[in-house]
């Protein structure tokens, strides 16, 4: 008898420990282990090597068959993509420090290019908010879009912390548009400002460059940890914040809404029980003449109908 009890006790303890362990793992799961993305394809964009030639933009247009973003200057049209749009999947921005600020420190104003495009997050917010999984992370790394699933709710556009997804506003059959990671830009870059490889190696390479030339870079690999990590890694000579790259915590974006969704079953059960209890308590022993207090309301009632007549 005793041993049986003991066995039961042990089994119960094991079960409890097991579930505790499982829930512990669950909590950890929100802190995504970046190692699982080590072999996804990543790209380093080194702003200090970039010469702003926009060959990458032209290559992107050609590969994806996107029309130029025409702007007219004194009668001549140029392709001047200013910001990301349905047709601009990548743009080259430029930042120049306020000369007065630099003069105060007795140096030339710093400046930098920035090639913007989809960051291809390890755990993308766009994919986590999409109700139909039209946006999804592939095993190789790219975050892709399937227009045959999309309903056009545009939640992805609002949830992306980098504000990357853009829309075809003037189309009766609109699509969400963004970089699809075909890396035409990487192949086209004439100065090696863009290099691609497995994410782990790219991160190591980025840190090697910073270590080798600490004066050339700000000591931060943007995208290594931001929002749970991205496949697009940015090295720059000026602070990333100044380049309009949002400072983001290393937590995965969906960790904000995941707990809400995971709490739902509990809510359904709890509210169901509460309603059931209330119903039982108020309807269990219903009196046949349970008519409240007819005196007061009937007086009001007849009065009201007279008033309005």
């Amino acid at each position: 008898m005793k041993s049986l009890d003991r066995r039961k006790f042990l089994a119960a303890t094991a079960a409890a420990a097991g579930s505790a362990l499982a829930s512990g793992q669950k909590a950890e799961a929100r802190e995504v282990d970046a190692r699982q993305f080590d072999r996804t394809i990543a790209v380093i964009y080194d702003a200090t090597r970039c010469i702003g030639c926009r060959t990458c933009v032209a290559a992107c247009r050609k590969k994806n068959n996107l029309p130029p973003d025409e702007h007219e200057f004194e009668g001549v049209k140029f392709d001047v993509p200013e910001e990301l749009s349905a047709n601009n999947w990548t743009v080259l921005q430029v930042y120049r420090e306020d000369p007065k600020e630099a003069a105060l420190e007795g140096r030339e104003p710093k400046w930098s290019f920035l090639k913007r495009n989809c960051m291809h997050c390890n755990v993308p917010a766009c994919a986590s908010v999409c109700p139909v999984a039209a946006l999804y992370k592939t095993e190789e790394g790219p975050v892709l879009y399937d227009e045959t699933r999309c309903i056009g709710c545009r939640y992805c556009m609002l949830a992306c912390p980098f504000q990357v997804p853009r829309y075809e506003w003037l189309d009766w059959k609109p699509r969400v548009r963004k970089c699809d990671w075909n890396r035409a830009c990487v192949k086209a870059c004439p100065v090696g400002a863009l290099v691609e490889g497995p994410r782990k190696e790219m991160i190591e390479e980025a840190h090697r460059r910073i270590e080798a030339e600490p004066d050339r870079y700000v000591p931060h690999v943007y995208g290594e940890h931001e929002a749970g990590g991205t496949s697009y890694l940015i090295l720059a000579g000026v602070e990333h914040e100044k380049l309009d790259l949002p400072p983001l915590p290393p937590t995965v974006r969906s960790s904000i809404s995941d707990p809400i969704m995971e709490a739902l079953p509990g809510w359904i059960v709890g509210l169901g029980l509460a309603l059931g209890a209330a119903y039982k308590l108020t309807h269990g022993e219903e009196k046949p003449d349970g008519e409240g207090h007819p005196g007061a309301s009937s007086r009001e009632n007849s009065k009201a109908s007279e008033d309005e007549a």
């Binding site: 506003w169 809400i260 509210l271 119903y279």
Partner: protein
């Protein structure tokens, strides 16, 4: 009540014109795209149709589950006369919200996708399912009215026996849906102004929806009373309004807790659009009506009660517009003001809803029906 009848056809005509105009503009939007009809941009992807038609439409439809729960679950049977109008309004509100969604989403023909292409981590997925399921439940709760109108006794009895299941399902789905509309915005910390951005959004949306559900029922009973003649004793409406101060009290308390916990008080005392919008929403929409309704003379005076119900309704409408539109302005380089087409489409949808409601009020046994109509007559009898 006869003296006021001639007004009705004129209003109906005006509403019909709005519906026709809205319909034409909706066709225009479907052919030429969202960008042609709306002022939406990549930097401001959700506008009036989400902020007003969907968020406000669903919130104002909360009376359905609140009244059904009050009467049929919590057993406050004296409010039974309000259940049917509330359910009809809720059903219409949801149908209108669905029309709004259909026009707002880029690919309305794919609206059924979330039902088969699952992504259960998405709040929008929950929203989609709740809309579908709760509209179905509301339709089932609405059916007995039609059965009663045509005197179909057998289906009526069957529905009555099943009704409590629909009511339970309706309440659970409603709480999920009302809160999930708030949950949508917890992923937008980088866009939404800190006055409104809080992880408590789902809870705040739910509680304010319960308040506005009650306010809407009172507002409607008063409005239809003004137009068609009063059918409810002022005391009964006053008693219903007793629910508002405690609910608004909890709401106000949560708001204060949230603002303190996140340390955003300094932002509320700046001369900004957001601060003003917040104070109007908070003071006029929640604090003032919540306080006034503590007084019996306010509750039992038709016009004062009407005024308070309007304040609560406007407060919640402004809250939803603050979260969806005004709170999003600061982070958007393009800004946003709804286009005249967006406004007219929204107006057309509302007008269509009111039109259908007024026709149903006259043709279906909504306000006075079966047992409760008889009871009202019995109560009135001794004094008549």
């Amino acid at each position: 009540m006869n003296g006021k009848r001639p007004k009705v056809p004129v209003i109906r005509l005006a509403f019909s014109v709005l519906v026709v105009v809205g319909f034409a503009l909706a066709i225009y939007r479907l052919i030429w795209g969202l960008g042609a009809a709306t002022n939406l941009t990549d930097a401001f992807p959700w506008g009036l149709w989400i902020g007003f038609d969907v968020l406000c439409g669903v919130a104002l439809a909360a009376g359905g589950f609140v009244l059904a729960g009050t009467v049929h679950v919590f057993g406050l049977k004296k409010f039974e006369p309000f259940v049917r109008p509330a359910i009809v309004t809720a059903f219409l509100g949801y149908v209108l919200a669905i029309i709004g969604i259909m026009l707002d989403i880029g690919r309305p023909w794919a609206i059924w996708h979330p039902l088969v292409m699952w992504q259960p981590r998405s709040v929008m997925f929950e929203v989609a399912w709740c809309v579908v399921l709760y509209t179905t439940v509301l339709f089932l709760e609405f059916l007995p009215i039609v059965f009663e109108r045509f005197g179909w006794e057998k289906p009526l009895q069957l529905m009555k026996r099943l009704m409590i299941i629909f009511i339970f399902a309706g309440i659970i789905l409603s709480t999920m849906h009302q809160s999930s509309l708030g949950s949508l915005f917890v992923m937008m910390g980088h866009r939404l102004h800190p006055i409104w951005y809080t992880p408590l959004l789902p809870l705040l949306f739910l509680i304010s929806a319960v308040a506005v559900g009650i306010a809407m029922v009172i507002f409607e009973a008063m409005l239809s009373g003004l137009i068609f003649g009063h059918r409810h004793p002022a005391q009964l409406l006053g008693d219903l309004s007793k629910g508002l101060p405690p609910i608004l009290g909890v709401y106000i308390g949560l708001k204060l807790m949230d603002l303190s916990a996140r340390g955003v008080w300094p932002l509320l005392f700046t001369n900004t659009l957001e601060a003003w919008a917040f104070w109007i929403e908070f003071l006029l929409g929640a604090v003032l009506p919540g306080t006034l309704l503590l007084r019996a003379d306010v509750r039992n005076n038709r016009m004062k009660l009407f005024g308070c119900s309007i304040m609560v309704v406007m407060g919640v409408v402004l809250n939803r517009l603050n979260v969806a539109l005004i709170g999003m302005l600061a982070t958007s380089p393009t800004g946003y003001l709804p286009s005249w087409m967006e406004i007219l489409v929204s107006a057309g949808i509302v007008a269509g809803g009111l039109l259908v409601l007024s026709v149903m009020n006259q043709t279906l046994p909504i306000v006075e029906h079966g047992p409760s109509a008889r009871r009202l007559q019995q109560r009135a009898a001794p004094h008549a």
